[in-house]
């Protein structure tokens, strides 16, 4: 029995050692992605992950010379799972915000696009405090859009919060919500330009205030992994410089999503 315990203990120490050494050199990186946020990430019918975020993730890994595994994770649990070490980085169009920075470290931005409202064509809703009064707005829960609408219009509107952006689109089609608030690019490609969203249109100005939306979307990592943050920053700069970013950008968008 004692020998058995010793073997188990030795195995545990070995495994722990392997875990630590793996964490040190970042030759293998596990990346958390969402998979329900077209055109940035979605799941194909055969189960493969596709989209801008996915292509960027693969390009960055190639640049860093790391072997990457993509892990699909629901938005609600995407930060807790990072902290629980289920993966080492999040590439899921996550806006860099002060409140998230309290829990995770961010790379520099890898794109920045404004938020916008959408309404049903012919509804005539205007984006003012009076125009929004009593209306129902759909957002994805715990996004910058959720924080923005809660803080700025929380008293005037009813907010419906969804686990994924796709669910919000579904309820927009069936007429359960009067307005959508989301990233303009995601909504344009993921909804308005699809058959489902043909009766909907953008309304109101671009929202890009840094207070709510931050400097753009970045890669989130655990705060102690400062070396990984540096590696990702270097890789972002490299793919921006060598044309890889531009090639991926062109595949999905007609304009530069990196912003100024």
């Amino acid at each position: 029995m004692r020998k058995f315990i010793r073997v188990i203990a030795a195995a545990a120490v070995l495994m722990l050692g392997a875990g630590l050494s793996q964490a040190a050199d970042w030759s293998k990186v596990r990346i958390g992605v969402e998979g329900a946020y077209p055109p940035f990430s979605w799941v194909e019918a055969d189960g493969t992950l596709k989209g801008f975020d996915i292509d960027v993730a693969n390009a960055l890994c190639k640049e860093m010379g790391a072997e990457c595994t993509l892990v699909q994770q629901d938005w609600d649990g995407i930060i807790p799972s990072l902290l629980a070490k289920k993966y080492d980085a999040i590439i899921a169009s996550m806006s860099i915000t002060p409140e998230r920075k309290k829990k995770v470290a961010f790379s520099n931005k890898y794109y920045n696009t404004p938020a916008k409202f959408a309404r049903m064509k012919g509804s005539g809703i205007e984006i003012t405090k009076e125009g929004l009064a009593g209306k129902t707005v759909g957002v994805q829960r715990a996004t910058t859009h959720d924080s923005f609408i809660t803080a700025e219009f929380g008293d005037a509107v009813t907010i419906k919060r969804y686990g994924t952006q796709d669910e919000a689109y579904l309820d927009a089609v069936s007429g359960r919500i009067d307005l959508l608030l989301a990233d303009s690019v995601a909504m344009d490609d993921g909804f308005l330009n699809t058959d489902n969203g043909k009766d909907w249109e953008f309304v109101g100005p671009d929202f890009i205030e840094e207070k709510y939306f931050g400097p753009g979307a970045g890669i989130a990592m655990r705060q102690e992994d400062t070396d990984l943050v540096e590696k990702f920053n270097a890789a972002i700069a490299a793919i921006r410089a060598n044309g890889t970013y531009e090639a991926i950008n062109k595949k999905y968008f007609e304009f530069d999503v990196y912003g100024d």
């Binding site: 807790p80 309290k102 069936s174």
Partner: protein
């Protein structure tokens, strides 16, 4: 029912366990608790009323009479509550005919969709329990009632149903608790019930342990209250089964 950010400062410390986000959002939990109580109480009440005729029809000897209620019971016991709720909430919303109809104001609201799903689900389970209890009625009781000259309706009202309710009571107590726990699925379709509140707090402050354990405690307290209530009811309704006190 609106979420207001009661914690003005997002500056929550990075302690391993930190309940400050829960404390600031306690009103949100209480609002959620109230929604859960409403949904469960209404679903159980309407479900029980629906279950009685369904159980009576299902315990009929004629295949024609019992076919439909049996199918109802099989469907709602045979599929997960989450599937039933998605079918009503997302599924019905797909059809133009329903969206154009007078029913849409009801199906438009997540709250009513959840209530309908919960009601039909608990009606299915309760009907099956009652059907079993009705079929277990001792022949002697019915023969005695007939010998006393009671009519069919009177036998049902005075003999079969009261004793069936008594026999079904312990199983029904479990069903009530299952319904309470099952009601957490309402949080998935934008309703801010107890679980929905926990999800909002978790996703804002990234405190999954604290937010879900708090919801769990509320469910636990309600469950204990229900267990106590059904113990009292059984004490009263099953008084004839207790050893006689001298």
């Amino acid at each position: 029912m609106r979420f207001k950010d009661k914690c003005d400062a997002w500056g929550l410390p990075n302690d391993p366990i930190d309940f400050s986000a829960i404390v600031c959002n306690l009103p949100l939990y209480l609002e959620g608790l109230w929604v859960t109580v409403q949904l469960v109480v209404m679903a159980l009440a309407i479900g029980l009323i629906l279950a009685v005729p369904v159980a009576l029809l299902a315990s009929s000897r004629s295949i024609w009479i019992k076919a439909l209620p049996k199918a109802f019971i099989y469907f709602f016991r045979g599929t997960p509550l989450l599937v039933q709720m998605f079918l009503i909430y997302y599924g019905f919303g797909q059809f133009e005919a329903i969206r154009e109809s007078f029913l849409w104001p009801i199906f438009r609201e997540a709250y009513w969709c959840a209530l309908i799903a919960f009601t039909l689900n608990t009606a299915g389970y309760t009907a099956e329990m009652l059907r079993g209890a009705i079929e277990q009625t001792p022949f002697g009781e019915i023969e005695a009632a007939k010998a006393c000259g009671m009519s069919g309706a009177l036998i049902y009202r005075q003999i079969i149903l009261p004793s069936a309710f008594r026999r079904a009571l312990p199983a029904y107590g479990n069903e009530v608790i299952f319904m309470l726990h099952g009601s957490a699925v309402a949080g998935v379709i934008t309703i801010i019930d107890l679980f929905g509140a926990a999800r909002i707090v978790n996703s804002r402050y990234f405190v999954p342990f604290e937010s879900y354990i708090t919801a769990g405690l509320f469910y636990l307290i309600m469950t204990f209250a229900l267990i106590w209530l059904f113990k009292r009811l059984e004490h009263r309704w099953h008084a004839y089964l207790r050893p006689r006190e001298t």
